[in-house]
Symmetry: C2
Subunit: 508 residues, 2 copies
């Protein structure tokens, strides 16, 4: 290729990347204002906040769907001289562009309006545990989502379109065997644990104990620092629902919540969100504000949070390492040893709520939602039958009856936001995490020994080049295979969970 | 006019106002990120923050200078059917547009760069009290500002162009007699006070006393609430330099600073910033994101802060009203009565620092800067002569020698930001505030009696329709005349300050 021709391509690439960065800047502004809204915004700021957030979304959409963007992408796709990083930016923008231009602007606006009304209706319906208040809104969102599937088109089953939106490349034919394999071994494991619990009840927190908020803040900040979170490049705050936000290079913020009667709730929220935040802090700064510098998927993001929360944080080794700090911050707590603390942190229960579930039941909660979404989009399940479908399946798998829809099919926010196809990424996160744990252990030796030392830097340093710095250079499945040497698989997770809970509950 | 013609004009106006709101949204985003940067941003977020702030500034500038905006303004100026509110939006946007298009984009970028370098150099120079480190940067900024004056053009003296930027309509021929009138009566008043202080020293805070930050926060929030600040529509936080930010309708934030040895520093910062914030909270929501819904000028803004800080807050009546709360929050403080607290809050001193000055010397500090700026831009004072000019003038007016430039000509941030012509608006604020106080008293009766009751709502209700809700409907001078029945004048301020300090220091 002549120097001149290369020069022209580089000019095209520069024009393209300038537009990409502008779109990312608009996204970062939305993220920042969203963080502010959830943490510190005064109540009466909500109208102005909605206005600016929709304005930013519209600005972003109009820049993404600008025909000039389409031309630049096509031109860059036609040539061979781009390097891998550049190619990944073109690939990711092609995907976003194609989706954005397929949806008419009026549809996008109408969908946004329907979602915001559904969210309010869902909040009331859940508070009243009254599905019928939410039903018409859910019917509308499902109808519009089916319309969206039609706009996107494509081969395969209708639900595949939604699954692909949240984890690129994943289809029903991928998830079905994976979930079936999990269910076949998790349901029997759960039943064995229930028998063991009947004979020897789990330890519980004494009712009268209180853990002060400043002490919880100090203890959890200490743990986040040990994990490697850089507080000069981020913040920890409080919000109703814990979350993590990448925001800007050098400024990653996460939140937690406080319950004076239960320090474990705050601790594991912090470890989970710090896991997400470490991924964001570890993304390649040289590629910031482009897809190459973005986290690759929800599933991989969740693998980072679950790795630290469960596979590091819910172990006797972890409790051995942090016991002195726990005792220093909570001098009034009973004289628990590491094993007892770990036991409390790993109680299995057949509660109704996904976000409170242990590692055994968590994926069953996810699977139930996956099966229902599949029925809705592939088999046209009438929405009025949603509660009975949910409740029957729950009783079959968990062995208990759902007392009311507030703790059943109304419990999660996702459907009221039109996020169908999102839930399965949570399970992918658990599977990826277990797979990473096995590979890491091959490289670093016995991880329990390492975690017990309290110096976890080698674990973060293992994740940095293999996951964090890769950004969106590869697809999620490629990334996991490159990092671990094997394609994504449920086996490492099943080995992990059977061994862990077998040992905890003294199963044979 | 035919209905059809009116329809066309309204369409033009809608197109215009849509663009105006977009520009305001970009401004509000800059304000929000600026607030975040000063209060809670982690240190390593600064590079990304600079990037997004310059990006927003460039976006805003390109929308303001879009030729389509010029056409819309011209078209709207040509017709008679707009109402007063609409006309004020067109008038204000004309002013912004004309200024923006007169400056070449390269000049704007070069000036921004020079300012950001000068700011860093000033910080170092002030810390080292070494003017020569700052001198080349100041010379460059002054040179570019002279260039800017040339771009703007216009009649009158060169310095007039700068004065008009910060307070529309004000010129050297307006300020000169006003400042001369002030100086003629303030300098003798200061000398009388100094004699009185020599005979009877001011009370001082005991060195060993400490006032806890939580107690200061509680006391100051209490005062801000009594002033009428709506904490559901705003926040109070901490920052190095206190400031107030209007941000969004329903979301106005101000900051303060804490010194455990001096609760007055925090209190008067809070009263000052709450005064600004009440103006922002009182702007007309129906006109938000347009000039009609913006505060009209720096001078009027400062009148609101100084009104509450000094004319309400530094009175015996105020201390009578808040004494129970003060005693509750600071039980270890001496058994001060309202008169003593007021005496401490009104100590006159010939300190070198403007921001710490009392009401007698404050305007002399401003005037000194005004005289120097006049010499720089109208008489081409060489910048190397700035320190000696400053120091000579200070000694003549205040009767003391400036020990080093750190507390002399290097003390303020303004010049390092290229903000020449800004200082005089502080004095306008003091004058407007005194004039408003007199008018308010005509309507509401004796204000000392009213302030002592602790119910200040009638004072806020008096300011709301006369100042806050007017936004930028009128020019600053028109607004003051409409609110008080008289054009702006220094007489009410001089009457106020002579009476107040005469009584405090027992002058004849």
């Amino acid at each position: 290729m002549t120097d001149e021709r290369i020069g022209v391509i580089m000019e095209t690439y520069e024009a393209f990347i300038g537009r990409v960065k502008d779109i990312h800047r608009l996204g970062a502004l939305q993220g920042h204002l969203g963080w502010d809204q959830e943490t510190i915004m005064p109540a009466k700021g909500s109208d102005a906040r909605s206005d600016i957030l929709s304005w930013l979304a519209a600005e972003s959409h109009s820049r993404l769907t600008d025909p000039a963007m389409g031309h630049l992408i096509s031109e860059l796709e036609r040539n061979e001289s781009l390097d891998d990083d550049q190619r990944s930016n073109v690939r990711e923008m092609r995907r976003s562009y194609d989706k954005a231009v397929k949806l008419p602007a009026e549809f996008v606006a109408a969908f946004a309006k329907a979602k915001s009304e559904a969210l309010l209706a869902w909040q009331k319906a859940r508070a009243n545990s009254n599905f019928s208040e939410f039903q018409p809104h859910l019917e509308q969102l499902v109808g519009m989502t089916k319309q969206k599937i039609a706009y996107f088109g494509g081969e395969g089953q209708p639900y595949d379109v939604l699954l692909d939106e949240f984890e690129v490349g994943m289809k029903v034919t991928d998830y079905d065997p994976l979930f079936e394999g999990l269910r076949a071994r998790l349901v029997p494991l759960l039943h064995k644990i229930q028998v063991a619990q009947h004979e020897r009840p789990d330890p519980i927190l004494p009712e009268s104990l209180r853990f002060s908020i400043p002490a919880q803040t100090a203890f959890c900040s200490h743990v986040a620092s040990k994990m490697g979170f850089d507080f000069d490049a981020g913040r920890m705050d409080a919000s109703t629902h814990p979350f993590s936000a990448g925001l800007w290079p050098g400024d990653t913020r996460f939140t937690t919540r406080f319950d004076e009667r239960d320090p474990f709730s705050c601790l594991y929220a912090v470890m989970h969100e710090t896991g997400h935040a470490l991924y964001e802090q570890g993304l390649s700064k040289g590629h910031s504000m482009t897809p190459r510098g973005d986290a690759v998927s929800l599933g991989v993001h969740e693998s980072q949070s679950r790795f630290w929360e469960n596979q590091v944080g819910r172990t006797p080794a972890f409790w051995k390492a942090v016991l002195p700090s726990f005792q220093e911050q909570f001098p009034d707590a009973p004289d628990w040893d590491a094993a007892t603390l770990n036991r409390i942190a790993n109680t299995v229960s057949t509660g109704f709520i996904r976000v409170e579930a242990d590692e055994v039941t968590y994926n069953l909660h996810v699977m139930l939602r996956y099966e229902i979404e599949k029925k809705i989009f592939n088999e046209n399940l009438p929405i009025e039958q949603l509660p009975e479908t949910w409740n029957a399946m729950f009783e079959e798998w968990f062995g208990v009856q759902v007392p009311h829809d507030g703790v059943g099919c109304l419990q999660d926010i996702h459907w009221s936001m039109g996020a169908f196809g999102y839930f399965p990424t949570y399970t992918l996160g658990n599977l990826y995490a277990a797979q990473l744990l096995e590979s890491m252990s091959d490289d670093l030796g016995d991880l329990d020994t390492l975690i017990a030392t309290g110096d976890w830097s080698s674990m973060l340093q293992w994740l940095r080049p293999r996951i964090h710095e890769q950004g969106s250079k590869h697809t999620p499945a490629e990334l996991i295979e490159l990092a671990t040497g094997s394609p994504p698989s449920p086996e490492p997770f099943l080995r992990y969970v059977e061994e862990k809970y077998g040992s905890l509950y003294g199963l044979e």
